[in-house]
Symmetry: C2
Subunit: 110 residues, 2 copies
């Protein structure tokens, strides 16, 4: 987990991914790490925020320049194969929400 993503001024897009894991591990960690590094190299990738809870609940938000970047990432062949395995064995339930970030604000103490 890299903490709070450093992102440009909105608008941009967020893909909210929330999932409940099965008890099956079979390649999960390797694939998760590989997908994160693959995402970083996609055109339009802006950042990622991800937390996993001890009980198998996982919440990941990836940020993208536009809808087209999300489309290309979704259809990346290696990612498609990971999605297939995810549905088949790693996830009990998942929900994906695609959203347009319209404004952002915050602070960081120095």
């Amino acid at each position: 987990m890299e903490g709070i993503a450093q992102l440009p001024v909105p608008p941009y897009y967020a893909v909210i991914f929330i999932a409940r894991r099965t008890l099956v591990d079979d390649g999960y960690n390797e694939t998760a790490t590989r997908m994160e590094s693959l995402a970083h190299n996609q055109p339009g990738f802006l950042g990622i925020e991800s937390i996993e809870q001890g009980d198998g609940l996982e919440l990941t938000i990836s940020y993208w320049k536009d809808e087209q970047s999300i489309f290309h990432w979704k259809h990346n062949p290696e990612h498609l194969e990971a999605q297939r395995q995810g549905r088949e064995k790693w996830y009990e339930a998942l929900e994906i929400r695609v959203a347009r970030v319209e404004r952002a604000y915050g602070f960081e103490k120095s």
Copy 2:
């Protein structure tokens, strides 16, 4: 944490809240619990997904019917006081992103 929120068909709004905690506890848990229950009773509240990592990183997404519901929640007097205390003592850094959810899909194994 209640897991994956059950939400209506989009569009609706998401408030993505990511924060890094300080080491100060002073009333934090009570206030967090109280704010979650207060949010549930706000007009336009649709659901919440929240995970906290052991190292103090917190990721919470609350879902709302429209921008007006978010505005009212942000300006609720008790919530304003919690925000003030959050900035002052509980959070080292935080970022809030307001987004319009445009589509959603997923599965749940029976």
